[in-house]
Symmetry: C2
Subunit: 446 residues, 2 copies
Amino acid sequence: MNSKDKKIDSVVWGGTVITMDASLSVISDSVITISDGKIQNVFSQKSFNPPTGVESIDARGCLVMPGLINGHTHAGMTLLRGIADDLPLYDWLQKHIFPLERKLGNQEFVSLGTKLACLEMIRSGTTLFNDMYYFEEATAKTADEMGIRAICGQTYVEISGVEKASEVFQKFDSFFKEIQKYKLVTGALAPHSIYGLSEKLWKEMVAYAGQNDLMIHTHLCETKEEVERIKTERGVTPIEWFDSIGLWEKRTVCAHSIELSSSDISFLGERNVGIVYNPESNLKLGNGICPVVELREAGAAVSFGTDGTASNNNLDLFREVDFGTKVQAFKYGVGKLPARESVKMLTIEGAKALHLDHLVGSLEAGKSADLIVMDISSPHAVPIYDWYSYLVYSASQGDVRDTMVAGKVLMKNRQMLHCDEKQILDEARRWGIQIKELNSKLQNPR
Amino acid sequence: MNSKDKKIDSVVWGGTVITMDASLSVISDSVITISDGKIQNVFSQKSFNPPTGVESIDARGCLVMPGLINGHTHAGMTLLRGIADDLPLYDWLQKHIFPLERKLGNQEFVSLGTKLACLEMIRSGTTLFNDMYYFEEATAKTADEMGIRAICGQTYVEISGVEKASEVFQKFDSFFKEIQKYKLVTGALAPHSIYGLSEKLWKEMVAYAGQNDLMIHTHLCETKEEVERIKTERGVTPIEWFDSIGLWEKRTVCAHSIELSSSDISFLGERNVGIVYNPESNLKLGNGICPVVELREAGAAVSFGTDGTASNNNLDLFREVDFGTKVQAFKYGVGKLPARESVKMLTIEGAKALHLDHLVGSLEAGKSADLIVMDISSPHAVPIYDWYSYLVYSASQGDVRDTMVAGKVLMKNRQMLHCDEKQILDEARRWGIQIKELNSKLQNPR
């Protein structure tokens, strides 16, 4: 049966569609037909009358675009939002985050944190997040329940003390088996960082990824100190060391990627490596600026990411793209990363960086119906001279009116349709009170 | 009559008040009594029952804080939001903004642009803006109508071609006379920049400010080129040159202030100069980063500013403070401008920079009742471990529930109470269509 003959389940009609297809088509008076969670067709038709018996989303006067892609998150730690602000990375991680995680790290903490993260992401137009944390089975289950698409990267870090190395691969086996049932979830391997695992374990991770055809998601070159330490200890840059253990032959996504030499940049650009630019976290922690313009010129696909709420402290990609685009103008000069390119990074190029561009990132026939409807009636959206400029420099999370993933409407007119938002928020506030007390005790032991 | 005996007009009660007073008091179960537009008292009282016959704002579960202060705007050009993005300052100004302003510069354009700006500012929690533009009599009238507090700086720039030098002071005379009737408006003199006026005219401006006891608002050291040109032509830095003509003896507010030497910074810190940090505009135009941490250490009062919508492209101070605080962490290291300090800059220190801290900037008895009520029930506001962290790193413009200026509620439950928002937006969209055509003609003359 031709896909055009399939029964239409829903239509999104009347809006202006920013498709983000290869020719960046913009379609006014648009109709998007959706069947079995996939886009069947996108076309222009004035005076369209939605067929009866079909879910209809009236987007007249609105902008319709692919859902935003968050390339690097730690959704499970959202309950730690802003728990230890204005501290440098090492103190923040070693004195606050790791000790709290050792106490709190369990399924319930991760599950509730992820629910909270999903609420914020769905409300701000994100339809796919690439996650890295402990207990990702809870993240996967929660993402599936909340209806949002996720790449769940089960992490491991030897230095945190949360998990034992001997049990890692056994846990991985059961994790990847368990999450197969979640349609919206892709599993990934997320060894924390070059410094977070022994050389032996890193090699085993790469081998495991090869055996199981898994994407690897890691933190790369986040600080000068990290890079200098590797160079001193191993005589090569992190990029070169990872090359020596065969990492770059796998599908890889690297967060941060700040401290790169020119040859590192050329090397990464030529390989199938996705880069995630986390400007808010990187500047908040005082770490530096990812060389996005150079990486893209070298051929790399770059995604935006918020990082976790403990170092941002929000998951709002509209804020991230505005911030990150301006920061690149500062680093490279105005016009080197124009708004249009940043919107690519939020959508189709972000999907490519995460190796999922066959599935999402643009509104085209055959792709999953992961989209958002933007209400452009607020004062900050008037006038609009260029859609991409609006999206990057003016749009606010509150402009997202509807969010759909795989054809299912998760938020309509800013109301969450399939979860009890109040209950999640109340529970998160209760946990917040306990976490505050715990952090206080950990910082001031008797 | 003691102020305590005056009739109470309204109460804002039940919220947690971030006072921003000298000891940064935070008052839970708060009651703010307001009389004649001024704060009569701020105190804590559980189980408060608002008196009858008095306007009552129930802020239970909310945060109440001083209205935000925007230290540098061009409200009148808001219809040019994003008209020429991703261009360097010179091209942006000379090829797009100045030609458009020569065609469009009139009362109607400024009045409508200001209305649109006021809508966005009131919605995002701003209660005072320090403006600089042409036709500020229209800005002043509009601010008064919209109920927002403004410092209206009538500008002059010889190079733009909008106005003739011979008519400037005559126009100033009638401007300052005309705006006296607007209770919420303070007049100021706004010579555009060191390079925008002749030496003769700059000296006349300083003399005029002295004769009329006016604050001077100007653009200072925005680019390297500007500073190098002055140094080459005049043999001194802009700071030194302004000193030679007596500018620093006046109440002065300087926007941008990026390219400053160490001695410039010490010099400014010791004088009664307000500095405005416009991080989004400064990075978007690729200009650089204001040395905020050093300026504050030297003693200067620093305000946040959005600049105009043509170089931002929004007037959202919550976005600005998040951006600007992280950019300072990048420049100086984490913790050098902690969230609490940034909130000062948004409120009491911002007021000091604008020489209005006797009137606004904190919630204390005797000050004007310029305040906002923040709804903290959205996912991005959960949990909150520190109020200042929330305000800087997580809060969004949509969290502003109510906005009050001088005791008058301008927005309640996100509804504008005293203007026809739809009419303003419709008119702004119509102008937008015409401006787009005009810009296109100016860029592609036959």
